[in-house]
Symmetry: C2
């Protein structure tokens, strides 16, 4: 089966497609809500609506986990909650360390929904000596100097980076060296990590820019005949577009 290891370490998901894995938490959330309302079973149609996806997609997703439904009835809510939780590894405890306790780091530390699903904030780490010992969300902030020890002692395998961009890579390296193999990065930085380490990023700026793109598009639809493409002035082969960068214009610093 091993079709050679041609630099393809990403798609090694245990049979379950990555896209499906990304939706399981969504289903789990919807199922948990149903569970709290003591709803015994749910059809793929209902659950799909609650999760905001296509019902066929949901059924196919579940088919990767096995056949847990009953034709003519639907899925047993409690049973499915357990199966998905187990598949996602939420039946065990995941100690998490947050590095960079500033605006965002503190907000995350204070976030209640964190611990609600197997994730536990095991440590808060910051480079500012003045913060050492200060309690944030009931947890004393520890200094970066002890990062390695803190990670090891707590068995942390998931790290959250909320430092300024400039420090992100360095912090990442230290986390990895200490044994962290999964990183959630909030800093707008492209992190470089060794194979075997997973990195996911949350980038507010990118999200806003994507929204702006579509927003501009919508605005342009109304005034299609408007001055849509006046500025370009493509540098044609004839005219060299060397350093005389004609009209760079606006530049956000």
């Amino acid at each position: 089966m091993a079709t050679g290891r041609t630099h393809r370490p990403a798609t090694r998901s245990r049979g379950i497609p990555e896209a499906t894995v990304a939706r399981l938490p969504l289903y789990l959330r919807a199922l948990t809500a149903l569970s709290e309302r003591s709803v015994p079973t749910v059809s793929s149609e209902e659950l799909a609506t609650a999760a905001g996806v296509n019902s066929a997609k949901l059924r196919k997703d579940f088919s990767y986990l096995g056949s847990y439904g009953t034709r003519g009835v639907g899925y047993d809510v409690e049973y499915l909650v357990y199966q998905i939780s187990r598949e996602l590894g939420l039946t065990q405890d995941w100690p998490v360390a947050i590095v960079g306790i500033g605006n965002l780091g503190a907000a995350l530390a204070n976030y209640g929904g964190f611990a609600s699903r197997g994730f536990r904030v095991a440590a808060l780490i910051d480079a500012d000596p003045a913060m050492a010992g200060t309690p944030v969300a009931g947890i004393a902030v520890q200094h970066t100097d002890d990062l390695d020890r803190i990670i090891s002692e707590n068995g942390v395998s998931i790290g959250v980076i909320t430092t300024p961009p400039g420090a992100a890579q360095q912090v990442c390296d230290r986390l990895v060296a200490a044994g962290v193999t999964s990183i959630l990065n909030f800093a707008p930085t492209v992190l470089s990590v060794p194979e075997g380490v997973d990195v996911r990023k949350v980038d507010l700026s990118i999200e806003l820019q994507i929204l702006a793109f579509h927003e501009q598009r919508k605005a342009g639809e109304d005034a299609t005949a408007e001055d849509e493409g006046a500025p370009p002035m493509r540098a044609t082969p004839a005219g060299r577009k060397g350093p005389d960068g004609d009209m760079p214009a606006v530049m956000p610093a």
Copy 2:
């Protein structure tokens, strides 16, 4: 219900693939860094490395914007910064409103990188009367009662929701009614919006769960033999498949 031919507003992207749009901010960030270092030109290979993508992908992405490169040389940094900025709609000002000024909302309001790229925090809105007038990040928090007026007066078309999950849909509805057509949702809620309104979500919990999945898989590679704790019990009709042997969930019979 069944064969309801629902419209497909998603693939309305004017020629530019959605995946490409999502990467443009990444390129822009790398290019801005180069620009600040006064680097005149850059090759697709260098830029791709800086942005953390494949060079062929980058070239194809740029090809959707037009042919802005020079063979044998590369791309003019300033020129490309301008082109991408224009394509993303960042040459104009985007007033943004944040609703729900708690831990997260306040952190976002204080976030400097926000305004650095055409986005301006035009208003902070919260339902707590006690917060009205309180300055956060130098901006006075306004009450939800005035939401409609605030959105209109400031020409806000992008709204950020950082309220508790239970209030998200309601807030969303009010924002849309007031004229907002793009929403960035931080609440773990599936928002329902009319056609023409874009919603993007940032979900910390989902990201962590995806990481946990892969983390568990990595751990499982070493030792496949493990003893799961005490799974719920529930007898399945037939002994369907049992690779993991344990059946869970209580049947409320």
